[in-house]
Symmetry: C2
Subunit: 396 residues, 2 copies
């Protein structure tokens, strides 16, 4: 039916898409980018998923004028300053910057995305000067991916090529940032997806939402939800090709793999853990328990300590206000049964096996509540000294 292949160079593979990143002086090191764009040279449709935070940052409030899906072909991104809690003045700064885009940017309904510290006005002049340093006909996905990072320790970039029966091809590619303040209902994360697939416009927003729900909305680094979270999908149809299942699968994989990269890069995190809750009374209850597991400080520190202390798993489920019963609960670490009503205390052999599982970079904690058919998986990471250090010293 179709094959999906991973390609290097991220956004550069997508037909009609240009991108670049430069330093415009927001970061002190001139080698580190802080300003990027992604644009389509032909007309395109943008769909957005924005943060659920009530204090949406100025660039989101500006873009929301166009609705969630609109004709748009240019996204400008800056790091270091979130342009959040800056009021109407912050929105005017966005307007002023976007009205200064050079003609060669050919921008229609351009939008901004920002990430960084909250509460300070954008250095508008620096950014306007930076617009002329960007190469508006470059396909420099690497530079764009690096320029949007904040506390991230590695760039996040992906491209999938879909080949349909008959040889037609399209691409789904993206860059993303995000390392802390990551929580279901988005994260402090930005993700810019571009595709040359001929996505039917009426489907585009729903397809994006579904992909986001199964990826970025299932990861948690620290339970905090930022003012700036945004996922954009820019579709320009330049390939002329489309296949509903293939596109949904490729988009889903792009989002999921970037979400896992964000989690692996969770501030100070050493492990990624899938919290799989099954047998809940409902999917909602499963989601609540799984999300709480991924957010619990006691669970996260036990992961860091590689301590198979399943009592903290059980206590977190019990505190989640979900139907549960200690006689029916079953907990597995990967395929190791770690708790059921017949096996409560860890004997030395199972404890030794649990230690080995927990030493891995990633593993699975599965909890069957035995109450019904509800299920949900959330993804989290451990909490290390490094997290505290990064976040205690972030702004200073």
């Amino acid at each position: 039916m179709f094959t999906i292949t991973s390609l290097k160079n991220g956004l550069a593979n997508v037909r009609g898409i240009y991108c670049d990143g430069v330093n415009c002086g927001l970061r002190p090191d001139p080698e580190q980018g802080d300003l990027a764009f992604i644009r389509s040279e032909i007309p395109a449709t943008l769909s957005a998923v924005y943060t659920s935070n009530r204090f949406r940052a100025a660039p989101l409030r500006h873009a929301l004028r166009y609705g969630q899906t609109f004709e748009g072909n240019c996204i400008l991104v800056n790091a270091k300053n979130a342009n959040a809690m800056t009021g109407e003045a912050g929105i005017r700064d966005v307007e002023e910057i976007l009205s200064s885009l050079p003609a060669k940017a050919q921008a229609l309904n351009p939008v901004m995305s920002s990430t960084g510290v909250i509460g300070y006005r954008l250095p508008v002049d620096k950014i306007k000067a930076g617009l002329h340093k960007l190469d508006w006909h470059a396909k420099n996905s690497d530079a764009a991916a690096r320029a949007i990072l904040t506390t991230d320790s590695f760039k996040k970039e992906i491209c999938l090529e879909v080949e349909l029966e008959g040889g037609q091809r399209f691409h789904v590619a993206a860059i993303a940032k995000g390392a802390g303040m990551i929580n279901p209902s988005m994260a402090t994360m930005l993700c810019f997806i571009a595709t040359d697939a001929a996505v039917p416009i009426p489907e585009q927003e729903r397809l994006l939402k579904e992909a986001v729900d199964r990826s970025f909305n299932r990861i948690s680094v620290d339970g905090d939800t930022s003012t700036n979270d945004t996922v954009y999908l820019m579709a320009n149809g330049a390939s002329g090709a489309y296949h509903p299942e293939a596109f949904a699968e490729a988009l889903g994989r792009v989002c999921f793999e970037l979400a896992m990269m964000i989690l692996k890069d969770g501030e100070g995190a050493n492990k990624v853990v899938a919290f799989e809750v099954t047998g809940a009374a409902s999917d909602e209850e499963a989601a609540r328990a799984a999300t709480n597991l991924s957010n619990s400080l006691l669970v996260k520190t036990a992961l860091f300590g590689e301590d198979p202390n399943w009592g903290r798993i059980a206590a977190t489920i019990g505190a989640s206000n979900v139907a549960c019963d200690e006689e029916k609960l079953v907990i597995y670490y990967d395929d190791l049964l770690i708790y059921d009503a017949e096996h409560r205390e860890l004997n030395p052999e199972r404890e030794e096996r649990a230690y080995r599982i927990m030493k891995q970079d990633s593993f699975r904690i599965r909890c069957d509540l035995g109450m019904g058919e509800g299920s949900h998986t959330a993804y989290g990471c451990d909490l290390s000294y490094e997290y505290v250090k990064i976040n205690a010293e972030y702004r200073t």
Copy 2:
């Protein structure tokens, strides 16, 4: 009308109350207590508030047979083992231990409280042997207060003496433990209050609940809620004295001061911060925002870093699903205006003053949402390297 005075020696001041603590071998160091009792030599009434965790530990399930308020005069407490997730066998262990209380304990409907690791059976024989090491006619509040501690770094003990007009006196005294896993809807905390006031039995449960709601249910160390949280109030009427307002005030102060001690002793914590939310659309919304502030990892690490990053305060409020507006929000640190629509960026002078406020052991962060009349105060602490260390290495 009445005067309230603080006395030393905690529970020892309460007429008709005996208490003691010894080591029975649950802790390796024979100098450290791990078994305690509190009992009344005359008939008494016990009221309880238990954890909202669905996986209630065996001693709670045992005690719940008697209801939330019952005739009872003896509480036995052990540390190091929570007797949680131990099934029916755990309840039988409680029964076996309590049926071995010596005759001189004169116990009527005795109950147990346990704290420590989850998922292991109690060492019943050690505890039964320990029952004979306890001095059942001691008034050793210090030994009892020390024997119930786990990761606590100091004992928590208080006594208030109320003197009424005309010279009648009664006492409200308590011991408590709790350092981590502290969250609204209780905490991993145990608190045993005894009073010789002649509390009307029909009022006792409500008075206890109100005091708990304004104290233990407003503090958060790490957002986790344990399987064992319990507050008991034992009232024996031995003073013959009672005064409704005086008793409510003394009980409220006992609970609040112990809650603040627990927070000060938050695992690795260095500061206690009051998060006061006013002007919310409702008290419920105020409580949600205040509680989220006290639980936010980004807020807690900023407190540890003494970084006046009010953006994290604003972002947490915005993520709390409460009515808010960045033009109406006002944030104070103590009496320093740190954000309003006219003062968004911190100038150096205000930043310097904010640093000085944040260096204190305790201070207040007040957020007025400007949306209505709802208000709530929650109490939290910072998150330090030490928290991670304590909780990564707890069981091992």
